[in-house]
């Protein structure tokens, strides 16, 4: 019996280690490659660790020649504005949908739900024309409005949370004569902090990683974001994998830092975002 258990437990750890190995190997190899010189590339295999762990030449080259700074700046601008916008929009809709029953309440909810059925990547054919007509093509506003506008998941998360906030809080505030606007800004919003954190994380990851919207709507070089800046490495550095690898690491590093710092919130964020 004892033997049986220990071999099962061995198998368990073996599979876990194998899983971790498969998850990490592609990343570790790219880290190795990013620290190798051109000559070193030629004489080593992909699995060989770099000779000099502090050789950041490729990073310098990738960061400067690849215009990554512009990419980061544009990403931060787009990220900040679109997330704040999405949170405002989401909390506003969630507040009126949850707190007031009115003609059209169900219709608005249904309209948001139905919109998620439409795979966004396909409607780009028509969205492109609309963005163009609004004069937003090749501006940061194109990505900002698109990231801001089409998101049922955050509305959903906010409704979930607001429904857990007791109506009695609203009522006692009304006895004190507080306006609805005040109830929203002073009572509801502060109590929604965990939900806001959730949406911030889920949305933030999506926006940082999105490739297609900036690729399609902001082809101008000065408007490139991290994704599109990295994508451009494909042409000129076609075979210079040490430079491309450095670019990959630069794009991944912020994600790693945020992940290590906010692990718990990130797990919760994605679990809440999906299960509900």
């Amino acid at each position: 019996m004892r033997m049986h258990y220990s071999s099962v437990s061995m198998l368990k750890y073996l599979t876990l280690l194998l899983g971790a190995f498969v998850a990490l190997l592609p990343l570790v190899v790219v880290l190795f490659t990013s620290l190798k010189s051109r000559a070193e590339m030629a004489r080593s295999t992909a699995l060989t660790p770099p000779e000099d762990w502090l050789n950041f030449d490729n990073y310098k080259k990738a960061f400067v020649d690849g215009n990554m700074l512009v990419g980061f700046m544009n990403t931060v601008i787009i990220l900040a504005i679109s997330i704040v916008g999405a949170i405002l929009i989401g909390t506003m809709v969630a507040y009126i949908l949850n707190r007031f029953s009115f003609f059209g309440n169900k219709v608005i909810m249904g309209a948001f739900l139905l919109a998620t059925l439409i795979p966004a990547v396909t409607t780009q054919v028509a969205t492109f024309q609309i963005i163009n007509e609004l004069g937003l093509f090749n501006t940061r506003a194109s990505a900002i409005v698109l990231f801001m506008g089409t998101d049922i998941i955050s509305v959903y998360i906010f409704i979930q949370f607001i429904s857990q906030i007791s109506q009695q809080l609203d009522e006692s505030a009304m006895l004190d004569g507080a306006s609805y606007l005040k109830i929203f800004t002073r009572i509801i919003l502060p109590l929604l902090k965990p939900a806001i954190a959730t949406v911030f994380i889920v949305k933030g990851v999506n926006v940082y990683n999105d490739f297609y919207i900036p690729f399609l709507y902001m082809p101008k070089t000065e408007l490139q974001v991290v994704s599109t800046a990295l994508f451009k490495f494909k042409g000129p550095y076609g075979t210079q994998w040490e430079i491309i690898s450095a670019g990959i690491m630069i794009a991944i590093l912020p994600t790693l830092i945020v992940f290590l710092a906010l692990q718990k919130y990130i797990y919760n964020g994605f679990t809440q975002g999906a299960v509900k």
Partner: protein, 309 residues
């Protein structure tokens, strides 16, 4: 009424004085309109208007820019269903569809193991989940290097003495979709995993204790406690994986650009529109895709009941 507010809050200001002076009934109306106007404007402009336009364009021959739009009825749809090179790309989806089952199986396995006592739990949890957070372009490049000749995979196989079996993983049309689907599993497994883990962890511990007392072993616990509690989530994920498999785009587009038979329906649609300037035809393709997704979702609701959605 208003003076009480100020006394109570003691801030001496009257923010939005005029609004607060209104009766609650008037406030209600105003706030409903004000709070739904902007969100609805966004929703209509960027979800429903494109949908309407897309359906409209699908009946025209149009290059996307000229004023000259020619009404051609159902011709675009006929093209999609009769020209094999347009419709056959759906076969590529099958690879991704099959791969999602492997993905969910792995996710379920790791989630179950890690919901019990395990050494290094947080490390494994983090490592298995982390790929999901990564930038899509970065993942595409990482796996271009992984699969290229003398790349990560070939080097690993050499070390294991399997050097003779290396292939052109992204060059061989028989293998390319398997390589790409495997990349997709690597990318998205962590997402299923973390959801399963979250659901399994929300099962109260005393249920397991009771099962232990009744003499249930680990398999029984999995079969009769864990499975029923996550059935819904699995069902939902299966359905999502169908629409996901049909609308695969990013990984093949970044890694191969759709070359060597890795073209998916969405890549096809996007290229038809933006590369070949056939907006009418591309719109019709998008409508077909949308209809498939809607049908799949309806079937899901029929099969699993309303709550699954």
């Amino acid at each position: 009424m208003d003076s009480t507010v100020n006394k109570r809050h003691g801030d001496g200001r009257k923010p939005l004085l005029s609004f607060a002076n209104l009766s609650y009934k008037a406030q209600r109306r105003l706030i409903i309109v004000a709070f739904s106007l902007i969100p609805l404007a966004f929703l209509v402009t960027f979800s429903y208007l494109p949908l309407y336009r897309m359906i409209y364009y699908s009946f025209f021959s149009w290059n996307g820019f000229s004023r000259n739009m020619q009404f051609i009825g159902l011709d675009n749809y006929i093209t999609i269903f009769t020209r094999p090179d347009y419709f056959s790309v759906f076969a590529v989806s099958l690879y991704y569809f099959v791969a999602t089952f492997a993905q969910m199986g792995l996710a379920l396995y790791f989630a179950t193991i890690l919901s019990f006592k395990v050494r290094g739990k947080n490390f494994f949890k983090g490592v298995l989940f982390f790929p999901f957070l990564l930038n899509g372009v970065a993942i595409g490049f990482i796996f271009m290097y992984f699969f290229r000749p003398d790349g990560t995979l070939d080097a690993l196989m050499n070390v294991l003495g399997l050097g003779g079996l290396t292939q052109l993983w992204l060059g061989n049309p028989d293998l390319i979709n398997i390589s790409l689907a495997a990349t997709s599993v690597w990318r998205y497994m962590g997402f299923n995993f973390i959801i399963f883990l979250g659901t399994i962890s929300s099962i109260p511990g005393d249920i397991y204790e009771a099962a232990d007392i009744d003499g249930a072993n680990r398999w029984h616990q999995f079969r009769y406690i864990i499975m029923p509690s996550i059935r819904r989530i699995i069902e939902l994920n299966v359905i999502l994986s169908i629409s996901g498999a049909i609308s695969v785009f990013e990984i093949p587009y970044i890694m191969t650009g759709g070359a060597n038979g890795s073209r998916t329906f969405v890549i096809q649609t996007v290229e038809t529109a933006f590369k070949f300037g056939k907006f009418g035809l591309a719109s019709a393709m998008a409508v077909v895709l949308l209809l498939i997704v809607i049908i799949v979702t309806l079937i899901q609701n029929k099969l699993f009941g309303e709550k699954g959605a």
